[in-house]
């Protein structure tokens, strides 16, 4: 079943939590709603569930308009961050609860519960109370409860954020496995970019109630459509340098005295723009080949990566470098980047001008002395 949102809007008093979102979630797809807290992703999920009713716009499940339909009639399954299991009921009864509401005969209900419990691998815990389960087990129960009535749509509201790091990884894969096994359309809300990028077919990035960008995960990372998307994705975060035009094709980096020359292109009519450089795309080069240089003020090695922080005047730039390099704090260091890896943004609108994996991105960047 396709889910279609048409200019969906939700206002609470004076704040617009969801601002005119239009999109379609395709049948069987797992879509992540990603964004910082307060961006409206959870509200969007609540609107999809019918627990909130939008102030404007419409929601369609397939061809059916469900905008004003109550949650209990929408035939959806939902998983919550705090699991929201009924504390006084056993695991079996928790999973059976939706079937009981539908007045499914008990025998049949128990059979369906058993099937579901096997799917999420908790069939040995059916007699326990939720309080006797670990976080991961509780989450499995919550998923089973959401799926037992064979919903058309599965909604997951930050389902992993109450779990510890290792378990989160495991449950992430589990959710993906279960979703694909059942073949259900699913919407997954998270503030964790890694989670969103790893689990989903498509990521919808939101900020301030506005849908910023929707793409396949890798594409969003490689080709952010605005400054927000570029800065939200990536860890360590992307570096931004603001460039001001001094003369033809020569730009000065704001906050430092260094300049660089860019080849002439049609978008360069801008007096200033922002250049986004992902730390992992930067690499060290001899002084004369570098795009810019600065003093290393900080170095740390995390696992296989070495992260350095470079001071250029008032700005700092993060870069991941070869751990075998003999760099030390206090050294001067020059960095370069492949031209096609540079992202250009309009500083006024925040919109992407050019860059990423654009095919025309063969600009020749050279340091200008």
């Amino acid at each position: 079943m396709d889910v279609h949102l048409d200019q969906l809007t939700m206002q609470f008093n004076d704040t617009t939590a969801v601002d005119s979102i239009t999109t379609t979630i395709k049948d069987g797809e797992l879509v992540s709603l990603l964004g910082p807290s307060g961006c409206g992703k959870s509200t969007t999920l609540m609107l999809l569930s019918g627990l909130y009713k939008p102030t404007a716009g419409d929601i369609y499940f397939g061809d059916e308009k469900v905008t004003t339909m109550d949650a209990e009639k929408r035939g959806i399954g939902m998983v919550f961050q705090n699991y929201a299991l009924y504390p006084h009921l056993s695991v079996l009864k928790n999973i059976m609860f939706p079937l009981k509401m539908q007045k499914v005969p008990k025998k049949e209900a128990i059979q369906q519960v058993m099937e579901m419990a096997k799917l999420v691998q908790i069939d040995h815990l059916l007699d326990r109370k939720p309080a006797q389960l670990s976080g991961g087990q509780q989450q499995r129960v919550a998923i089973a409860r959401a799926l037992v009535k064979k919903p058309k749509l599965l909604l997951l509201d930050e389902p992993l954020s109450n779990l510890d790091a290792r378990l989160r990884l495991e449950m992430r894969e589990e959710i993906r496995r279960i979703q694909q096994e059942v073949g259900i359309t699913a919407v997954f809300v998270t503030h964790d970019q890694e989670e969103a990028l790893s689990i989903s077919d498509r990521v919808m990035l939101m900020n301030n109630g506005v849908l910023q960008q929707e793409n396949a995960p890798q594409q969003m990372y490689r080709k952010p459509e605005n400054i927000f998307a570029a800065s939200f994705l990536g860890n360590p975060p992307i570096n931004f340098l603001t460039l001001h035009k001094t003369e033809n094709n020569t730009y000065v980096i704001q906050g430092s005295s260094q300049t660089l020359e860019l080849p002439s292109m049609k978008w360069q009519t801008h007096e200033a723009f922002q250049m986004g450089l992902r730390p992992e795309d930067l690499y060290t080069v001899p002084e004369e080949e570098g795009l810019f240089s600065g003093e290393i003020i900080h170095m740390e090695t995390i696992g296989r990566d070495t992260l350095i922080r470079l001071q250029l005047g008032d700005v700092t730039v993060r870069a991941l470098v070869d751990p075998k390099s003999r760099l030390r704090v206090g050294d001067r260091c020059s960095l370069a980047i492949e031209p096609q890896e540079v992202h250009y943004f309009d500083p006024k609108t925040g919109e992407r001008l050019r860059g990423g994996n654009d095919n025309d991105a063969q600009a020749n960047l050279e340091k200008h002395a």
């Binding site: 609470f12 008093n13 509200t43 909130y52």
Partner: protein, 297 residues
């Protein structure tokens, strides 16, 4: 995020509230207003529900009635007799119970027993204990060479008898509240005071008392308010009379007399209204002073 109220949600809420509101409006809210109005009915025919006259004469008559003045006096004496002793005793017992001893649960149960029992029943038991010839109390006092006292028939001793019964009855409630208050005082304060070398008395004075002051205050006000409402004990202890020579006539008993024995609804309502004002004042004091001066953690 709470969804905004709508007419639909209001209607739904009112349906949920309907049973409770029906009862509360009829038997709690309406009578408050009605009681106030009735105190101004100076010529009221209850049987026909006809109000012939309204005015302040009930209040004038009330304060000219020596019985009402005595009821007020007795009530104040009762409050002064019960509240301080009860609070000191219950605080002391609560502190003892809180000192990590064995059987503290058992002791707590024993002290709390009177709270769950019928006032009428225990008052009758006490009237037997107060019996001048065969009562236990006079028997015990006899050990110390005290002559038998006519607890329930001598006007001098009727009030002390009532006070003894009331303290006994109410002790458990206060102890539980004080225990709850003591248990909410953080252990660290004591440890800190101990490390600072404070003596036990000093710790009590400078740690326990200040931290317990909200509880003390609450217990005091509740005790005062409850003491102002005393009735059942008197009725049962003195066998349906307000003590010998009205020596245990209290405000509520006065209301009962005027209302149920003499059918003076206006006067009774006026007396009830005076009671309400007294209780209200103490409640207000609790709300205001409680916020301002009491040391909260």
């Amino acid at each position: 995020m709470m969804l905004k109220p709508t007419w639909k949600s209001t209607l739904k809420a009112l349906l949920y509230l309907l049973p409770a509101l029906l009862i509360l409006v009829t038997f709690n809210i309406y009578p408050i207003v009605k009681s106030f109005l009735m105190s101004f009915y100076t010529n009221y025919d209850f049987f026909k529900n006809i109000i012939n006259e309204r005015g302040f004469s009930n209040f004038i008559e009330l304060f000219q009635d020596p019985n009402f003045i005595q009821a007020l006096q007795n009530t104040v004496i009762f409050v002064i007799g019960v509240v301080p002793i009860s609070i000191i005793l219950s605080l002391a017992i609560a502190i003892l119970l809180n000192s990590k001893i064995k059987f503290s649960g058992l002791f707590r149960t024993i002290y709390f027993l009177p709270f769950v029992t019928s006032v009428v029943a225990v008052a009758i038991v006490w009237s037997w204990i107060f019996h001048s010839d065969y009562g236990l109390l006079n028997y015990f006092l006899g050990w110390f060479g005290v002559d038998p006292i006519d607890w329930l028939t001598d006007p001098t001793f009727a009030m002390p008898a009532l006070i003894i019964l009331s303290i006994w009855k109410g002790l458990g409630f206060n102890i539980i509240i004080f225990l709850a208050g003591l248990q909410s005082v953080n252990e660290q304060y004591y440890l800190a005071a101990k490390v600072d070398g404070a003596s036990a008395w000093h710790r009590f004075k400078s740690v326990t008392l200040p931290l317990l002051s909200p509880t003390m205050f609450f217990v005091s006000i509740i005790s005062i308010i409850n003491a102002f409402k005393v009735f059942d004990e008197i009725f049962a202890l003195f066998n349906g009379k307000p003590g010998p020579a009205n020596s245990a006539l209290t405000v509520v008993y006065y209301v009962y007399q005027k209302f149920y024995e003499e059918w003076e609804f206006g006067l009774a309502s006026a007396a009830a209204f005076v009671l309400f004002i007294i209780v209200f004042l103490f409640t207000i004091i609790q709300l205001i002073i409680g916020r301002k001066f009491v040391h909260y953690q």
